[in-house]
C-alpha cells in the first residue's frame, strides 16, 4: 500500500470547486422536492379523487423506478423528443427534485395524518380558512414530528447526488474521477471526495438537530 497525496496538490482547488457545484444542485433539488412534495401530500389528503389519484400515481412511478434511469431519461430523452438540448444542471435538479418529491410527499402525508384531528376542528370552528390553517397550524406541527425522517431524505439526496456524474455534471464525484484518470491514481482523490461528502452530511445532521431543538421549544 503506497498512498501518495502529494500529487493531488495541484488538483485540490479543482476538487474543492466541486463542493459548491454539488451543494448548489443539492440545495435546489431539496427545495423543489420539499415544495412539490408538500403539494403532493396535500393532494393525497384531499377529498378530490382526481388529485389523490394523480399524486399516488406520481409517487408510484418516481419511487418505483431507479433514480439513475429517471436522470438518463430527462437528460437524453428530452433532447431527442423536443430538440431542446437540456443543460446538465437543469437535468440534475429536475431528476433529483422530482424524485425527492415522491419520498417527501409520503413523509409529509404521514406527518399531517399524525396531527390530532382536534386541531383541524379547532381551526374550523374559529372560521380559519384552509390555507392559513394548513400553513400556520397543521404543517408546523407535522414538520416537527417528521423532521428526523425529512433529514434522512436530505442526507440520502446529498449522497445520491453523486449519480449526476454519469451525465457529465462536474460535481464533486465527477471531479474525483477526472483527477483519478489524470494521475492514474484513483484511491487518493476518491478518499478525499469521500471525506468531503461525509463532512457535508455531518454538517447537515448538525443543522437538523439544531432545528429540531428549536421546534421543540414549545414542549
Amino acid at each position: 500500500m503506497n498512498l501518495d497525496f502529494s500529487q493531488l496538490g495541484p488538483y485540490i482547488p479543482f476538487l474543492l470547486q466541486g463542493i459548491w457545484i454539488t451543494l448548489k444542485f443539492v440545495f435546489v433539488s431539496i427545495l423543489i422536492g420539499l415544495i412539490l412534495g408538500t403539494l403532493l401530500a396535500l393532494c393525497k389528503i384531499t377529498r378530490h379523487s382526481i388529485l389523490t389519484w394523480f399524486a399516488n400515481a406520481y409517487t408510484s412511478i418516481f419511487r418505483g423506478t431507479p433514480l439513475i434511469l429517471q436522470l438518463m431519461i430527462i437528460f437524453y430523452a428530452i433532447p431527442q423528443l423536443t430538440g431542446y438540448d437540456i443543460p446538465t444542471f437543469l437535468a440534475a435538479i429536475l431528476a433529483f427534485g422530482l424524485n425527492s418529491a415522491a419520498y417527501v410527499s409520503e413523509i409529509i402525508r404521514a406527518g399531517i395524518m399524525a396531527v390530532d384531528k382536534g386541531q383541524v376542528e379547532a381551526a374550523e370552528a374559529l372560521g380559519i380558512p384552509y390555507r392559513p390553517m394548513m400553513l400556520n397550524i397543521i404543517l408546523p406541527q407535522a414538520v416537527k414530528n417528521i423532521l428526523p425522517a425529512l433529514m434522512n431524505e436530505f442526507i440520502t439526496l446529498t449522497k445520491e447526488s453523486a449519480v449526476v456524474s454519469t451525465i457529465g455534471y462536474l460535481d464533486l464525484m465527477r471531479r474525483a474521477q477526472i483527477i483519478g484518470a489524470q494521475l492514474y491514481r484513483n484511491f487518493e482523490p476518491l478518499l478525499v471526495a469521500g471525506l468531503i461528502y461525509w463532512v457535508m452530511v455531518v454538517i447537515l445532521t448538525k443543522l437538523g438537530s439544531i432545528l429540531e431543538r428549536r421546534l421543540r421549544a414549545s414542549d
Binding site: D116, Q119, E121, A125, L126, G127, P129, I137, L215, S218
Partner: protein
Amino acid sequence: MIKVEQITKVFGKNPVLKNISTTIHQGEVVAIIGPSGSGKSTFLRCLNLLEKPTEGKIYIKDREITDPKVNILEVRKHIGMVFQQFNLFPHMTVLENVTYAPQKVKKLAKGEVEKNAKDLLAKVGLSDKVDSYPSQLSGGQKQRVAIARALAMEPEIMLFDEPTSALDPEMVKEVLDVIKDLAETGMTMVIVTHEMNFAKEVADRVIFIDDGVILEDAEPHQFFNAPKSERAKDFLSKLL
C-alpha cells in the same frame, strides 16, 4: 336565534340524530344532557356545521346555514366552540392562541387584538400565563385559554362540548366558574355536559337526548325534579 328543523344525521348506516327540532332564543343558556352515545355531541357539532346534517335545516338569525351556498367559515366566525380536549394550538403561546384567529380571520390590527386578548385572559384569571405554551398549563388552565380563544372572535353564540369531562376533579370548578360568568353576560350558550348541578344552576333550559331523539325539553327544576319520560327518570336515578 338558532332554529333547528327536523335534522337527521346518519354515520354510514347508523342514524345518530333522528328528526330533531328545537329553537334556542337569544341569551338563552341551554344544557344538553344524555347518556354517552346518545347523539348530544353530534347535535352540538351540527350547530356550527362541524358535522353536516344528513337532512333537515338549521337557521341562525333567520339565515339557513345548511344551505349549500352559505359560506361555512363566515357562519363559524360568529359561533365560538370549546372542546372536551381543549384543542389548543401546541406550537403557539397562550397569547398567540388567542390572537391568531382575530388577526387572520377578522384582519384586525395586532395591537388591538393583543390588548383585547390580554383583557380576556385576565378575565379568565390567566394574566401571568400569556407567554406560556399550552404544554406548561394544567387542564383547567388550558380550558380557560380555549374559552378566551373562542371569545376573542366576539361570537354571538358559544358552544361547549363537555368542557369539563377531560379535567381532574379539582379543576372542574375553575372552568365552570368562567362559564357561569359568561352566562351572566347574556351570551347565548349551548352546553353539552355531565355536570348536573352545574346544569341545574346555570341553564335556563335542559334538553335531554337519548338515542338521537329529544325526550325532554324543560326548565331545569322541572326536568330534575319531575322528568316526564321513563328514560330520563332512569338516567337521573343512576347519577349521584
